[in-house]
């Protein structure tokens, strides 16, 4: 479980995260939604430590990530996986080497054990016969899958996905959604997904946070959405704009 308390992030005089409080539970898809520029990526980057917020707490379990001592922070990091918006696969490495990379750096696995784990992860994302291809040689949807496989290579407890459906066709988007939800439930990990894909929100959004003007504007589940849209014009406008 991840708990965010009074999180504030500024860029110069722009208040990008305005006193955010939230809780992300394991085993469900936690979605952060909102218009482009609403601060979704900044929120995730603060949570994984790529950006430092001006104030607030980010609690993994009960340890505050921000104040954590270097080695404990590094330890915690090996429990975190991230799927980047443009996948951020290492383009000089093959698919297999990409997924193997975290294992090479942080596990004591033998080469055989590493290969087993790579193939296990590839199976989880339903990819075959791509081990020796380079990222430039595979499609956008396959890259996302490899990105997911790399993120789960170590036995993680936390998974962050920044716009996992960006640049994908609707059909592939649904497959990626299902994969992410499946992995989240199977391994009972805490998953946070940034999205502005309405289908995702309606399909798998068991816990949704709607960001507007840097604030947590609305929070609820996909079942509550229809009612919430009636009462919340900003949320309604966001949905209308997306279709």
């Amino acid at each position: 479980m991840i708990t965010i308390q009074n999180l504030n992030k500024w860029f110069d005089d722009k208040h990008v995260l305005d006193n955010i409080n939230a809780e992300f539970k394991p085993g469900v898809a936690n979605l952060v939604i909102g218009a482009s520029g609403g601060g979704k990526s900044v929120l995730i980057k603060c949570m994984v430590g790529l950006l430092t917020p001006e104030s607030g707490k980010i609690l993994y379990g009960n340890q505050d990530f921000i104040g954590l001592e270097y080695h404990r922070k590094q330890n915690l990091r090996s429990e975190i996986g991230m799927l980047f918006q443009n996948t951020a696969l290492f383009d000089s490495l093959t698919v297999q080497e990409n997924i193997e990379f975290p294992l090479r750096m942080f596990s004591k696995f033998t080469p055989e054990e590493r290969l087993d784990r790579v193939n296990f992860c590839l199976e989880k994302v339903q990819l075959v016969n791509v081990n020796n291809k380079y990222p430039a040689e595979i499609s956008g949807g396959m890259k996302k899958r490899v990105g997911i496989a790399r993120a789960i290579a170590l036995e993680i407890n936390y998974l962050f996905c920044d716009e996992p459906n960006s640049g994908l066709d609707p059909l592939t988007s649904r497959i990626i959604d299902k994969l992410l939800l499946g992995i989240t439930q199977e391994f009972n990990i805490t998953t946070v997904i940034n999205s502005h894909d309405m289908k995702t929100v309606i399909d798998i959004g068991e816990h949704i946070i709607f960001m507007f003007k840097g604030q947590k504007w609305w929070e609820g589940s996909n079942h509550e959405l229809p009612n919430a849209r009636r009462e919340n014009p900003e949320l309604d406008a966001f949905f209308k704009a997306s279709f």
Binding site: M82, F84, N86, A88, D91, M105, F106
Partner: protein, 254 residues
Amino acid sequence: MNLLSEIGRFTLFMKFVLRKPEKSKVFWTTTFREMYLIGIDSLLIVILIAFFTGAVTTIQTASQLLSPSDLFPTQLMPKFVIGAVVGTSSLLELAPTVTCLVLAGKIGANIASEIGNMKVSEQIDAYEVMGINSANFVTLPKIIAGIIMIPCLIIVANFLLLFGGYLACKMTTTLTSSDLIQGARLVFKPLYLKVMLTKSVIFAFIITSLSAFQGYYTTGGALEVGEAGTKAVTKICIFILFFDLVIAQLFLKS
């Protein structure tokens, strides 16, 4: 002011770069690959440039010193002087400085755009999220590889410079190749070798670290990645020429 803050940022960057690598096995594998890329891929251009510069320098020096003038009768000019001039300028300037200015364009631009691309495509962020010191991971192997391979390239360049000069002598009648070799050997001092090696190591560090620095702080997209390459080359050239002067002053001031 701008220069000062730039130097500050560079120092901070180097503080992250010059740390013990996380996994020494991965580090050395990467370093060997970089050594191959830096060394082997640049060998041909270094050889070509050194060979032709050597030939041209020999012909031009001979022509300057042996052309009739009122100041000094040419028949009194000993021919080995040409060899002495060519030999020392190869060792002190042509091999290290000219080679490194060329390598700035080849290796420097390459490193800056490679790391710049990793930055804008979030590969650097991916390392950081995994808990890897990205500045160290992507930069240190390149710096170490450069400091090992660039001096080797410069030593090769030295031989090719003299070989170019040697062949140039064979093609003309004004100068024999033994004049050249004799002259070069006559004025050789171990100090010159020291200067050459000092320059090579410092220039190698400038080329690899400045280009990595430029790439690492790229923001934006493909356009900025390209710009990072050209900006890196300009900065490297300026710093090489500046330190060229500093080293010459330090070692050779009479």
